[in-house]
Amino acid sequence: MRIIHYLNQFYGQIGGESEAYCPLQVKEEAVGPGKRIEAMLGDDARIVATIICGDNYFNENTETVGRQIEEALKKYDADLLIAGPAFNAGRYGIACGAVCKIAYEMGIEAVSGMYRENPGVEMYRRYGYIASTANNARRMKEALESICGLAKKILSGQTLATAEEEGYFERGLRRNVYVERNAAQRATDMLLAKIKGEAFVTEREMPVFKKFAPSPAIKDMKHATIAVMTSGGLVPKGNPDRLETCNCTKYKKYSLEEAYGGKGAAAGQVVHGGYDPVYGNADGNRILPADVLVKLEEEGVFGKFYDHTYVTVGNGTEVDHAAEFGDRIAEELKEDGVDGVLLTST
């Protein structure tokens, strides 16, 4: 089995803080803790390359470094990536996490080790199995044992059990497992336990939603620029950018004039997979009420109707995706001097 190991400048034996700006380099051998990893994993696994990069260089050149790591993972045909352990070193932890993410996106399993308060845990635990370690390198042996325990199971093709059982930070991913009792039986068992006041374990923790305070009201509507946008999937006819009908991975910005047959026309097509599109197809203003906004602009209710719109499909969309769309759209709108947005959902 072929392993690629990621280390920072310190564990990669280049130097301490003074070398934190050293660029990425690849050595075709095990280095530092990598040697102990090889020993622990036994004869079947070999570290074919060690990627070493300065913590500051990594965090300030993420694009270049990302490309280099991707190339190395391809070149050395890795079965598994091991990053760190980073203990409580913040910059190192973030770098280890980012490397795990690159591997994850290439379909390569990744293992790391960090202390629970390392910011890399929260930022990147989704992308790999991050073993829970002590907060400093005096406990290197235990950390490497934890990492190798996970690595051995992955390399032998085993499915890792839950985070609690295996000692990694919960990735927050969901998978299907097969159990003896069907859902109807489990529901009945759980309800009877609950009625009797006996212990039971829910199969799904409910999410906790972030609350946002709305922005203050616009003081001067007469000079405000107002946009309209929708998650109702009213795209230009023919769906030129192929927005997906469910679990949409993108949003698009379109000119109302050019893409929708005139600023107040909203002549588009519904590609939202969660409702009957007949009425939105017949009159797109039912989804994206551009006609009313043109009228209000003419009446001087507000200063200017923004001439572009943003569209996505809000149907089973992942919260992370939606939040990212929102952040990016808001930034672009701010740059364009938009003061307020009318959001329509379906």
Partner: protein
């Protein structure tokens, strides 16, 4: 007082074939295709075709509208699907003939995104209980000028009529077993358990029918579970394929079966409360609070609430859960959802998770397609470029018809790792 007693006379169907007359012989359902097509004649439909799809065959049915188990009262008066076909007397009572092991599947391009796939073999078949049935597939196009809503109604009725037509062949054909469903008095010590049967009633082709009445028009309704077994609930929804509670699922609900099996053992099955799921907040409040009042009226100690659909119905799910718990009625929710949930409540502390439906399957090309295969690109959940150059298609589990409804009876559990 005599409680309802329903005897299901089960006729096991092991194969289906076309023949010159419609009959059941030696566990084979023979179908006179001409006669069936004539029986289904409807001015709203054209190009009516009937095909057969058996387990293990290289057949794909797409896009699927509904799946229905053929059932009929033993005196031939209908009774199954009351409000559409049968009369209202004796529903949930007396004798009903069931052709088990077969179904009627309706197809049609009604709302492109929202009808799913049934494969009779291959990787999708492992996730679909309907792949194990001998299926009579009814395919028709709308007549010229027919709107989607009329098309939906016509296809829905054609499916029920086809099921009725086939079930008639079971009368007098001899049955293999009898299942008896009644709820005798049990010890007052046993906890009273009901099902809050969430039923989508959102309009825009997201509708279900109770005794033939559009559920949008209903206040929450208390049913005896036997009424479900006699086809009182008919699916008319065009929601995401996996979310769709097919009529077959209403007739064969795993939760109803489980509570029946445990009635008098460790619980007292107190009834089924149909809760219409409406999109408007005011109506949600009416339906959820009305349902909780019904649960209090029947003195339920606890309710199980399986969600139908996802997204908007979570508001109803959580509202019902909260109101029940407030009045001391314990709740367990059954959720079949990938991320995200759109609503939550602290009272939702007992949840059954029936798995992750965005797992992606690669389906090989099939020899025969019943329906319109190119529709796969439109299905809700199908990714961009889901049809490969080699004819394989890549789709998530949620394009499989009725996946979630089936999961209540399956052994899949979602796990976070």
């Amino acid at each position: 007082m005599n409680g309802l007693k329903l005897e299901l006379e089960i006729v096991e169907i092991k194969d289906i074939a076309f023949d010159s007359t419609t009959a059941v012989r030696d566990h084979i359902l023979y179908i006179d295709k001409e006669e069936l097509i004539n029986y289904l004649d409807d001015p709203r439909l054209q190009n009516m075709e009937v095909d057969l799809a058996r387990p293990g065959e290289s057949v794909r049915i797409i896009p699927v509208k509904d799946v229905i188990e053929p059932r009929i009262k033993d005196d031939g008066t209908g009774g199954s699907f009351p409000g559409f076909l049968g009369g209202y007397e004796g529903v949930g009572d007396g004798k009903t003939i069931v052709l088990r092991g077969c179904s009627v599947i309706t197809t049609g391009k009604i709302v492109g995104f929202q009808e799913g796939i049934i494969d009779m073999s291959g990787p999708a078949a492992r996730h679909c209980e309907f792949s194990e049935l001998n299926n009579v597939v009814v395919k028709a196009d709308p007549a010229d000028g027919i709107e989607p809503s009329e098309h939906e109604a016509a296809i829905r009725e054609a499916g029920l009529k086809a099921a009725h037509f086939l079930a008639k062949a079971g009368i007098g054909a001899g049955f293999d077993s009898v299942e008896t469903y009644q709820l005798p008095e049990v010890s007052a010590e046993l906890p009273r358990v009901a099902i809050m049967y969430m039923t989508i009633a959102q309009g825009l082709l997201h509708d279900n029918y109770v005794y033939g009445i559009d559920a949008k028009m209903l206040h929450p309704t208390l049913l005896h579970p036997n009424e479900l077994l006699d086809g009182v609930l008919v699916n008319g929804t065009c929601v995401v394929a996996a979310d769709k509670q097919t009529t077959y699922r209403h007739q064969n609900n795993a939760l109803v079966r489980e509570l029946y099996a445990r009635h008098g053992v460790d619980l007292n099955f107190a009834g089924v409360i149909v809760v219409p799921v409406r999109p408007e907040l005011k109506e949600k409040k009416r339906c959820c609070n009305g349902a909780v009042n019904l649960a209090r009226t029947i003195r339920a100690d606890g309710v199980i609430i399986p969600e139908e659909g996802g997204g908007n119905p979570e508001a109803d799910l959580m509202m019902t859960c909260r109101a029940c718990e407030k009045h001391g009625i314990k709740t367990v929710l059954i959720i079949a959802l990938e991320d995200p949930l759109t609503d939550t409540t602290p009272e939702a502390d007992a949840v059954i998770d029936v798995g992750n439906d965005d797992e992606v399957l690669t389906l090989p090309p099939v020899k025969k397609v019943l329906g319109y295969e190119e529709q796969v690109q439109l299905l809700s959940g199908a990714p961009e470029n889901c049809i490969g150059d080699d004819g394989t298609i890549q789709v998530p589990l949620y394009v499989i018809t009725g996946l979630h409804g089936s999961l209540i009876g399956s052994h899949v559990r979602g796990e976070v790792y």
